[in-house]
C-alpha cells in the first residue's frame, strides 16, 4: 500500500499537526516504509482469531459513585499557558 502526498496532508490534519511542504516528502517516505514493514501481517490467516485489546483481558472495575478528586484548580492553572479569572484562554471561537 503506497501513500500519496495527499494522504499525509489528510492524516496530519486528522492528527492536528502542521507539516510544512518541505517536510511532507520525508513523512511520506518514513510512514510508507513503516507501513511496508507492517504489511507482513497480511501474510497471516487470522480469520478465526479474536482481537486481543489487553494482555490480561481484565474487565473495567467499578467504584463507588463518590467524589474522590480534590479541587486543585489553582494548582493546575499555574502551569497553563494562558488563564484569566479561573478560565483557560484560547483564541476566540465565536464571533
Amino acid at each position: 500500500m503506497s501513500l500519496e502526498k495527499s494522504d499525509i496532508d489528510k492524516i496530519a490534519w486528522l492528527a492536528r499537526i502542521s507539516i510544512s511542504e518541505e517536510d511532507t516528502p520525508n513523512y511520506l517516505h518514513d510512514v510508507s516504509n513503516i507501513l511496508e514493514l507492517v504489511e507482513k501481517m497480511n501474510n497471516v490467516d487470522t480469520d478465526n482469531i479474536e482481537p486481543l485489546a489487553h494482555p490480561l483481558e481484565i474487565t473495567a472495575r467499578l467504584r463507588d459513585d463518590k467524589v474522590t478528586e480534590t479541587d486543585q484548580r489553582k494548582h493546575f492553572q499555574e502551569i497553563a499557558p494562558a488563564v484569566d479569572n479561573g478560565h483557560y484562554l484560547v483564541p476566540k471561537v465565536i464571533e
Partner: protein
C-alpha cells in the same frame, strides 16, 4: 560508598557507617562531575535531595528505617514529581511542572528514598537509542561514542556509571531491558499492571509498565517490593496480592525448566551475542536447570503488531497535548485550529510525529480493520504462543537485544532499523509478561544482556534465577573504565 548495591548501602546506613546526607552529597557530586559528559539527567534536585536525606537520617536515628530509607535514586523523567519539571524528554513539556506525584514516586518517597534527579529519555519514551530526546543524546559509559539504548537510557547510563545506585524506568517495547542490556546492568519489566501507571506519562497504555533498573537482581527485588501493588487510580492495575520478592532469591535452580526459542537462535543472530547467551544458559544448567528447545512461531510478527498497536495508542494518548491547559503553546495563534496545529508541530520531535502520523493512519476510516484490528489478532496469537510454551517450561531465555550498543547517530535517519532492533523485547509487552535482563558477558568489549521471560506474576521466580546467576558470575560487577 558509590560502589555499593542498595542492599549494602542499607546495611551501611543502619550501621551508621555514614549518614544518608553524606551518601546523597557524594552522589550529587558524582552527578555534577559526570553529567556534562554523559547527559544522564534532565534535572538534578540537590536541595530537595538533601532535605529528604536529612529526614531519612532522623528516621534511621529513631530506629524507624526500612530497607530503602535514605537510599538515593533517580527517576525517569516520565514519572510526575510534584513541584519539579517533568518533561518526558520533550520540548512539549519543557515548561511542565508536575502538579502531583506518580504513584511510583509516592511509594518510593514513603519508603524513605531520596530523589537525586530526573533522568533523560527518548521523547515520550519513543526510541531505542535515547537520541530522540529534546535534551540531546545520553552517552553510554562503556563507550561515550555510543548510545545507552532507550528509552530509559538516562536511567540505565546513570546506574552503569554509578551516578545513582538505582533508578526507575518504564518499558513499553523494551525500554527497561534493552538499555539495561546495552549498559551492562539489571533491568526488570514486571507483569503488565503490577506497578501502577498513575502519573506515568502514557505512551501506549496497554503496553506501558514501570520497573526498576539496578546493579543486581537482589536490588531489583527490594525495589519491586516497594513499587508493586494495586492502585485504584490506575484502571488496569492488577488486584493480585504482592509477595515479598526477596523471599525466593536463594532457592536452588535444581530442576528449573528453561525453554530456548528456536526462532531466537535462527542463524540471523550475531554469533558473538549468541555465544554469550549460550554460555549464560550453560551456567544455569550447571546450577541445576534443564534446557529444551521450544517454538514461538509468530515471533517475527511481533514487530509489525507492536508498531501498529503502539503507534495507534500513542496517537490517541498524545492528543491531550493541545497547547490549551498545559505544555507548549505556539506564539500568536490566529485561531483555535492554528493553536493546535502549530503547538503540536513545534512541541513534538520528529520520531514522535512519525508515530502519531502512523497511528492516526492505522486508526483512520477504511484502514482500522486492515491494520489495527489485524494487529490485535496477531497480538492474541503471539500471547498464545507464550502461553503454550510456558505450559512446558518455567522460563524462556534468549538475548535481550540483537546487538550491543549502537554508535551515536547510527540510526538517526533510519527508524526501520531502530524498530527491528526491538525484536526480542516487544513480544513480551504484547503478551504482558514479566522479563528481566541481566548482564551475561561482553561482545567486542561491550556488555550483552540475557533476557529471562517468565509467566504472569512470576517475578519472584525471575528474580531468583537472576540472583542465582549473579551469585555464580561476576558480569554484573564489571564497571566501565573511568566510572569504577
Amino acid at each position: 560508598m558509590y560502589k555499593k548495591t542498595i542492599k549494602q548501602l542499607s546495611s551501611a546506613l543502619q550501621n551508621k557507617d555514614f549518614s544518608s546526607e553524606e551518601l546523597v552529597s557524594s552522589y550529587l557530586q558524582r552527578c555534577d562531575s559526570h553529567n556534562s559528559n554523559l547527559n544522564c539527567f534532565i534535572s538534578l534536585m540537590p536541595e530537595t535531595a538533601i532535605a529528604q536525606a536529612r529526614s531519612a537520617d532522623k528516621k534511621i536515628q529513631n530506629g524507624e528505617a526500612g530497607p530503602l530509607t535514605g537510599i538515593p535514586l533517580a527517576h525517569k523523567d516520565i514519572f510526575c514529581t510534584n513541584g519539579t519539571k517533568t518533561s518526558c524528554g520533550s520540548s512539549m513539556l519543557d515548561n511542565f511542572i508536575a502538579p502531583y506525584d506518580a504513584t511510583v514516586v509516592t511509594r518510593l518517597n514513603e519508603a524513605g528514598m531520596v530523589t537525586l534527579g530526573k533522568t533523560n529519555m527518548d521523547e515520550f519514551a519513543m526510541g531505542s537509542t535515547n537520541e530522540t530526546s529534546f535534551y540531546g543524546a545520553v552517552k553510554n559509559p562503556w563507550d561515550t561514542a555510543r548510545v545507552p539504548g532507550g528509552s530509559s537510557g538516562g536511567s540505565a547510563a546513570a546506574v552503569a556509571a554509578k551516578l545513582a545506585p538505582v533508578a526507575t524506568g518504564t518499558d513499553t517495547g523494551g525500554s527497561i531491558r534493552q538499555p539495561a542490556s546495552l549498559c551492562g546492568i539489571t533491568g526488570l519489566k514486571p507483569t503488565y499492571g503490577r506497578v501502577s501507571r498513575y502519573g506515568m506519562i502514557a505512551y501506549a497504555s496497554s503496553l506501558d509498565q514501570g520497573g526498576p533498573i539496578t546493579q543486581t537482581a537482589e536490588d531489583a527485588a527490594i525495589m519491586l517490593n516497594a513499587m508493586a501493588g494495586f492502585d485504584e487510580r490506575d484502571s488496569t492495575s492488577a488486584e493480585q496480592a504482592v509477595e515479598d520478592y526477596t523471599k525466593d532469591l536463594n532457592e536452588s535452580l535444581d530442576g528449573l525448566k528453561i525453554g530456548l526459542p528456536k526462532q531466537y537462535f535462527d542463524g540471523q543472530l550475531d554469533a558473538s551475542i549468541e555465544s554469550v547467551i549460550q554460555a549464560g544458559v550453560k551456567q544455569l544448567e550447571k546450577l541445576g536447570a534443564n534446557v529444551k528447545e521450544i517454538e514461538l512461531p509468530n515471533s517475527e510478527l511481533s514487530i509489525p503488531a507492536y508498531y501498529v498497536i503502539a503507534s495507534a495508542e500513542c496517537s490517541s494518548n498524545l492528543a491531550r497535548f493541545d497547547g490549551v491547559r498545559f505544555g507548549h503553546r505556539c506564539d500568536d495563534p490566529e485561531d483555535l485550529t492554528d493553536l493546535y496545529l502549530r503547538s503540536r508541530a513545534e512541541g513534538f520531535g520528529k520520531e514522535v510525529k512519525r508515530r502519531i502520523i502512523t497511528g492516526t493512519y492505522v486508526l483512520s476510516a477504511g484502514y482500522y480493520d486492515a491494520y489495527y484490528l489485524k494487529a490485535q489478532k496477531l497480538r492474541r496469537m503471539i500471547r498464545d504462543d507464550f502461553r503454550s510454551a510456558l505450559e512446558d517450561v518455567d522460563v524462556i531465555i534468549g538475548p535481550t537485544a540483537p546487538q550491543t550498543a549502537f554508535k551515536l547517530n547510527e540510526f538517526i535517519d533510519d527508524p526501520i532499523s531502530m524498530y527491528l532492533s526491538d525484536i526480542y523485547t516487544v513480544s513480551v509487552n504484547l503478551a504482558g509478561l514479566p522479563a528481566i535482563s541481566v548482564p551475561a558477558g561482553f561482545a567486542n568489549e561491550l556488555p550483552v544482556g540475557m533476557q529471562i521471560i517468565g509467566n504472569y506474576f512470576a517475578e519472584s521466580r525471575l528474580l531468583n534465577i537472576a540472583h542465582q546467576f549473579q551469585q555464580a558470575t561476576d558480569w554484573h560487577q564489571q564497571s566501565p573504565v573511568g566510572f569504577d
